[in-house]
């Protein structure tokens, strides 16, 4: 018997398989390993950011600063590599510490000042984007032999697809996140907070540490996404990655995670990302469809999945409480 909590994940998976089958039946070339490899590479930064977003949303919060942090990371890296002789690896470590610290600070404000995550991360979004502007208004190219070397790492599949490092990093992040979410105490605490902060506190979940940790993870992963994005575009630009937080949220929701928190899977987000990437790839293959159809289709998908989740929660509440009236919206 399928548990109702894992049903959204299964629906996401089935959607992905059906969508891919439809795409492949229209354009057989979409089955080639090149397309698969590009799907992974092109969506790597979004996927990494969406992992952090998954944790935040599982805890019942939201992080609007993701896109700005990605832009800041890119500009910071580009400026550091241009103006100092710091090795890229040291710069990566520095920027990761910076973004994780930024996320932790937001988490601390959310927890200790009891302000809504929505507003705090909104201010964080302005702050990170503003910091990127202060560093440089122009697009700064990244030219360092180590970065070029990183970009040239790939594993060539027998049929010609090049699986690059970025895609590998994304898959690794997803695997790590799945372990953290389902196999560690921290992961369980995240789910507990998402299920209800007050209950979690009574259960003895360390609210402060977990909340700060969640936003630090989101900030740090946004930083990692920023590094991947900067290498992918070979530049840092303060206007880059506008609205990525929305794509990340959409991917998380399509992946079957409840936006109220407490229920969902990191693995679902992976397929959410792939579904969104697939839509874009299809539009590219088709050639006659305009780019704005991406947004409309993603919006429609979002709507479908929200409805589906709503139906599931409704069905399970009715089953558990046959006599009780309407569930109170939270």
């Amino acid at each position: 018997m399928i548990r109702s909590t894992s049903l959204p994940l299964i629906v996401t998976l089935v959607t992905f398989v059906i969508a891919y089958a439809l795409c492949a039946s229209a354009y057989p070339a979409m089955l080639s390993s090149r397309v698969v490899a590009n799907l992974l590479t092109d969506n790597a930064f979004l996927g990494i950011a969406a992992v952090g977003m998954t944790f935040v949303i599982l805890s019942g919060g939201i992080d609007l600063s993701v896109g700005s942090v990605i832009a800041f990371t890119g500009v910071f890296l580009a400026v550091v590599l241009r103006d100092t002789s710091l090795h890229p690896l040291a710069a990566f470590a520095l920027v990761l510490a910076l973004t994780a610290g930024f996320g932790a600070a937001m988490g601390a404000v959310i927890h200790f000042l009891e302000m809504p995550a929505f507003i705090v991360t909104l201010a964080g979004m302005f702050l990170a984007r503003g910091a990127a502007y202060v560093l440089s208004v122009d697009s700064v190219p990244i030219t360092h032999e180590f970065c070029d070397w990183l970009q040239d790492i790939y594993w060539k599949a027998p049929s010609g697809g090049r699986f690059r490092l970025a895609g590998g990093v994304m898959v690794a992040v997803f695997l790590g996140a799945i372990l953290v979410a389902h196999r560690t105490r921290f992961g369980q605490n995240v789910y507990a907070i998402g299920g209800g902060a007050r209950t979690a506190r009574l259960m003895g979940v360390p609210l402060a540490r977990t909340t700060i940790g969640i936003y630090a993870i989101s900030g740090g992963l946004s930083g990692l996404a920023g590094i991947v994005f900067a290498l992918y575009t070979s530049a840092g630009y303060s206007l880059a990655a506008v609205g990525v937080e929305l794509d990340a949220i959409a991917a998380v929701v399509i992946g079957g995670t409840l936006l109220t928190g407490g229920s969902g899977f990191v693995a679902g987000t992976f397929f959410g990302i792939l579904i969104m990437g697939l839509i874009q790839t299809y539009i590219v293959f088709d050639g006659t469809l305009s780019s704005w159809w991406t947004k409309i289709v993603i919006g429609a998908l979002l709507f479908t999945f929200i409805l589906l989740q709503k139906g599931l929660t409704w069905a399970t509440t009715i089953r558990r409480r046959p006599a009780a009236g309407s569930p109170t919206p939270s």
């Binding site: 805890s59 019942g60 919060g61 939201i62 609007l64 404000v109 959310i110 927890h111 200790f112 000042l113 009891e114 302000m115 809504p116 995550a117 929505f118 507003i119 705090v120 909104l122 201010a123 964080g124 979004m125 302005f126 702050l127 984007r129 503003g130 910091a131 502007y133 202060v134 208004v137 907070i193 902060a197 007050r198 609210l207 909340t211 929305l246 949220i249 959409a250 929701v253 936006l259 109220t260 928190g261 305009s290 780019s291 704005w292 159809w293 991406t294 947004k295 409309i296 993603i298 919006g299 429609a300 979002l302 709507f303 929200i306 409805l307 709503k310 309407s326 109170t328 919206p329 939270s330």
Partner: protein
């Protein structure tokens, strides 16, 4: 006695912040408060703040009502783009500006009803329900403009963005009139109370006999209409509809205006006037940064820091501390402070 002072006391923090920011403007630009009358039109720094703040103020009116019901409307920016695109499309097709305005309002109203139905009937969390339109809306707007920036030269429509009424820029007249009418209508009838009751406890409101669903749809409808009006004004101001950039991040400014206005995101109490003051504060901050001649790169950082400062001052926890401090000092507690108690734990999420 307490009754007559209640509204002023409620607005006091916003008025103080606004006065402080305006004084900051005066400090960096001595002529800030000088208003001139030229060519049948008022000019001056303060008029400019009122004029540039119009879209945010109009959005804030609808957003205040939505947040009063414990909801949020993320789609207003996208609805602005849709409305602007519709107005421009209708005008370029050769119709009059009245038809264009009506068409834009119709589009905005439909968007609002869509949001309202999702929230009220399907009981989807507002933040998620409106996210759908926020993502898809810009795509729809581009569908209307067919991916181009539609420009128009219709005098009537342009007047909505840059014309004058009795010397006052039209957008200023629109938002002041709309704000006053809404604030008056909501407070002089039971409507405001009913909206707040939904925000406090929707289930209890329903049991008390309030048509919560119908009212929720109406509230989102008003938000959609406000967004459409703001979208038409923005499009008229630049004489073109830009589906990609019109109203971009405006939803955040509108929410910020409501929050700076001291309205709790948890709903249950709201003040339209306070939100309008919040919108003016945001615009005054913008103008202070511009007038001070700071490098424009610093705009966002300064804005973020100011917003954080304002939010920290208004944070329930800080209010609670002040409350305790005052209580231990024997002073009467400020009316705003006890808010920190009951909802505090939920805010932490």
């Amino acid at each position: 006695m307490a009754l007559s002072h209640a509204p002023l006391r409620r607005l006091a923090p916003q008025l103080v912040i606004l006065a402080a920011v305006l004084l900051l403007n005066l400090a960096v630009f001595p002529d800030f408060f000088r208003v001139e009358f030229q060519n049948g039109r008022l000019f001056g720094g303060i008029i400019d703040v009122l004029n540039r703040g119009a879209p945010t103020a109009i959005l804030a009116i609808g957003m205040t009502l939505v947040i009063g019901t414990r909801g949020i409307d993320l789609s207003v920016g996208a609805v602005m783009a849709i409305a602007g695109a519709c107005a421009a499309k209708i005008v370029t097709d050769g119709h009059g500006w009245g038809t264009a305005l009506a068409g834009a309002l119709l589009a905005g109203g439909l968007c609002g009803i869509w949001n309202g139905v999702l929230v009220a009937w399907l009981r989807i969390q507002p933040i998620v329900a409106t996210l759908v339109l926020m993502v898809a809306g810009r795509g729809i707007a581009q569908l209307v403009t067919e991916g181009t920036i539609l420009t128009f030269l219709n005098e009537g429509l342009i007047r909505l963005g840059s014309g004058t009424i009795l010397g006052l820029p039209v957008p200023v007249a629109i938002w002041i009139a709309l704000g006053a009418a809404m604030a008056w209508g909501v407070r002089r009838s039971a409507l405001g109370l009913l909206i707040e009751s939904i925000g406090i406890n929707a289930a209890a409101a329903r049991l008390a006999g309030i048509n919560a669903r119908g009212l929720l749809v109406c509230v989102y409808l008003v938000s959609g209409l406000c967004a459409a009006l703001a979208g038409v004004i923005v499009a008229a101001d630049i004489k073109g509809a830009d589906a990609n950039n019109a109203g971009l991040w405006m939803e955040l400014d509108a929410i910020l205006a409501v929050v700076i206005g001291g309205n709790s995101l948890l709903g249950g109490r709201f003040s339209i006037i306070a939100s309008l003051l919040g919108a003016l504060i945001i615009q005054s901050v913008n103008s202070a940064i511009l007038l001070s001649g700071m490098p424009p790169e610093f705009n966002l950082v300064i804005k973020a820091v100011l917003i954080l400062a304002i939010l920290v001052i208004q944070s329930p926890r800080i209010g609670h501390w002040i409350y305790i401090l005052r209580a231990s000092g024997g002073d009467p507690a400020p009316g705003r402070a006890p808010r920190g108690g009951a909802h505090a734990k939920e805010t932490a999420r």
